[in-house]
Symmetry: C3
Subunit: 351 residues, 3 copies
């Protein structure tokens, strides 16, 4: 299907769009508006790129009603262009269809169960007690410790490490060099200034349809499990500490760090480089903007910001704007106070 | 011993606790207060969880004198419940006892020495000149370059990379996908806007009882070595640049970055996402709170904070609280100043 | 040459320095001023270390005219001591000369082309359609997906993952456990609070002379490619999102995160832990200081700072200095206002 493609008429029917254009024309891949050829589907979701509608050579553009008139080529009109584009792209660009079987170089323990439809790539290592379900893909160089359980249709890219006892749901995607189930960071201070290791006896349980980014790390529970619920999406370089619980459909951008035992609700969105302290509760439907530091629980849905500590985002924006004029403000206060008092800030070289 | 467990009486004697309960009762694993069964040890160290004492079904709870009366099941009373718990858990949950020997799929250079009691797992690669001591564990997929030296009882989890010349002490634990001894980031600007690589000719030396987290990276010295002293604990996703020196028993939480040539003292605690600039000195017994940026040396023990640049923590907290009201403060100053002057902040759309 | 070394006279000629000392004396390695022996070259580039000039035992020191008189041993005088040192060190410490050929344990697809002078180490996996040019080094445990193209003299350290379609230029160095070409983070919200994956159909194209740090991740384009131009230097633990474009000779320190579709100019310097939001343009010759958050495009060369959001660095420094006295400033405002009004800040416990 990918080579001959799919007709615009079929796309309109399958994805509930209104088609303006020839229903028998065919497309076979996706492309950006400005680079698309007549056999490509493109889309407009961000108004920033609207100018390309006039000149695009795409075979069809997925867009909303308001943009349709600007477009010089066939259109598929929908209220949710990005969503419909995602679904069309998934049809035109399915994941590679890897043959079932275990590569001769893979090392699979005799006490592991691998479904005959699973694809186990070169140099994979699978420990005793693992159970690999139907159509699972384990990419080259991945290491599974003991008693790892992977449900059907989940795919691990290359060099992923799943430590002992990790449980993965269905249809998950784990990107390269991610680590799941590593030892949590738990030490008790002894009486002479050193640290005594606290054995980390829990595991990691991951639901269905979870995606985990490259070099992201998820520690196993210290006692009890670390839990990632269905539909959670984690970008690259994220750190999830022991005993964290992330609610369903929450998404986190890259470089976020979540400290131990924090519970995050459902449908949250955490932007890049955010840090969340330990033992907190973040309720459902919370959005946290980039680089914020969250050092207290959040009990009310909303948008939160702040690199000192997170607060309601509108208030933060106003304070941040004032911060950008803080030196001026301090000088005003000095004028108001009069010159007879010395200004301590003047005694320090600050630039 | 793990299956039959250990008697409460023996625990009391070995760990110097006062037992209230049957000394012949036995426990064989650890569990959280709320999930524990009568064959489990639990503990109370954080008062937040005190309410569970009334209903726990644990076989015994490790706690302090003040909490003992609230508990409905046997107790082991100590002044340091978390420390005693850690030690009991280490007895009940020892690391897996892996058989000695080199897996047939491992590639060990003929010019490497591997002690016969070491465990070398599947798909390990060990270069020329390496020396692996007694009872060392090298997990699946690990790569050791040339001339890597690992002292006894150290364990590497999976997919760890140790570059040429790395030296590891005794009883260290290195978590999956950590990288030790990679090239430091050193470039000299040329005269035409490009960069000339400065060869990184040093190595990394790591002491005894050091733990290193998943995906943590430690660069080798540019000239001279990067040094991590005894008992240092590094969480996941930490970056240690070339020629850094970390003093004994210092602990760092996840996502910390330490720039080149900085020297950190003993017994410091660095919280998550902290950044420390290069060529600084941080003295012994310094605590730095989460997400702080340290851009100047610290010469006095204490607690430091700040995302603009670190300062004494109490002062930072007060300023941060004021920041959270900065927009109000600016408006007050405007009122004091009177309405006849225009407020530049009012001319900008800030929310 | 490394054992017998090179004469000071030859160094002076090759690198355009003025030599004060015996031209026939020889050196064979580099060392720090304080640790150098008479067969070592050392250098002085940071005035902080000038005191060592009086006591160093180095065979020769590379330095500038102004420092030459302080030095008790032979000197090579140049206007660019660090640059000349880098070049001399590269001559004395060339990368290891690895033998050509494919290790017996490597798994190379029959439909991949590997140049006979390339070095393919143990446990490497190379997929169908890959093309590996002359003198390329692929370190142990590296995984190359399908259709990866690597130009001549590029070296991959251990456990690196290059996903399908990645293109690398000449003379690049990729440090251990880096991941290039992983799936970008793209999801469209569905109408019931979940996320629909947006297939990531682009790739990653990397120019010549690029260096990439350990555990750094570069995502492939969502649609179109992620592009890293010639001479870019990326430190460890950096995250580059899909469709980012980084201009030639830009350097980034560790732990930086760049969000999707952002375009960064040439000759920029981005310090550690900086975050740059998505869909921005950063022009050429921009410097961004450590831990800054950039949430708007930058159209003018200069130095930018700020953890709230980046602004011109001098102004930021003044505001940050005022922030460090914000509590005092607020108290002054309160005094000016008089005691008859209550201070809201006094009603909250802030420390």
């Amino acid at each position: 299907m990918e080579s001959r493609g799919i007709s615009l008429g079929e796309l309109a029917v399958r994805f509930g769009c209104k088609l303006k254009g020839d229903p028998d024309a065919r497309v076979n891949h996706v492309a950006k508006l400005e680079a698309a050829t007549p056999d490509a589907v493109s889309f407009l979701a961000n108004p920033k790129y609207r100018a390309y509608l006039a000149t695009t050579r795409a075979g069809v553009v997925v867009l909303d009603e308001a943009s349709a008139t600007d477009c010089s080529v066939p259109v598929l009109v929908t209220k949710a262009p990005y969503l419909v584009y995602a679904r069309i792209a998934s049809v035109l660009h399915p994941p590679p269809n890897l043959p079932p079987g275990v590569h001769v170089s893979a090392v699979v323990d005799a006490a592991a169960e691998v479904h005959p439809t699973a694809h186990i790539a070169a140099n994979v290592v699978i420990g005793a007690g693992c159970r690999i379900a139907a159509r699972v893909v384990i990419g080259p160089g991945c290491v599974l410790g003991m008693n790892v359980i992977i449900a059907q249709d989940t795919r691990l890219m290359a060099n992923v490490t799943l430590c002992d006892g990790t449980v993965l749901g269905e249809r998950c995607i784990i990107n390269p060099n991610a680590v799941i189930g590593s030892e949590g960071f738990g030490f008790a201070p002894d009486q002479v200034g050193g640290w005594v290791k606290v054995p980390q006896v829990g595991s990691v349980r991951i639901g269905n349809d979870v995606e985990i980014g490259a070099c992201t790390t998820i520690d196993r529970g210290a006692i009890g499990d670390t839990v990632i619920d269905d539909g959670v999406k984690l970008d690259n370089q994220i750190q999830i500490a022991h005993n964290v619980h992330i609610g369903a459909h929450t998404a986190m951008a890259a470089c976020v760090g979540i400290s131990g035992s924090t519970v995050i609700g459902r449908h949250c969105m955490i932007a890049g480089q955010v840090g969340i302290a330990g033992h907190l509760n973040i309720c459902d439907n919370v959005v946290i903007t980039g680089k914020s530091m969250v050092s207290a629980s959040i009990n009310k849905p909303g948008v939160y910001s702040g690199s000192l500590h997170a607060e309601e985002a509108g208030k933060f924006r106003r304070n941040a704007a004032r911060f950008a004029r803080l030196d001026d403000l301090a000088k005003e206060v000095r004028q108001l106070r009069g010159k007879h008092q010395s200004d301590p800030a003047e005694n320090t070289k600050i630039d």
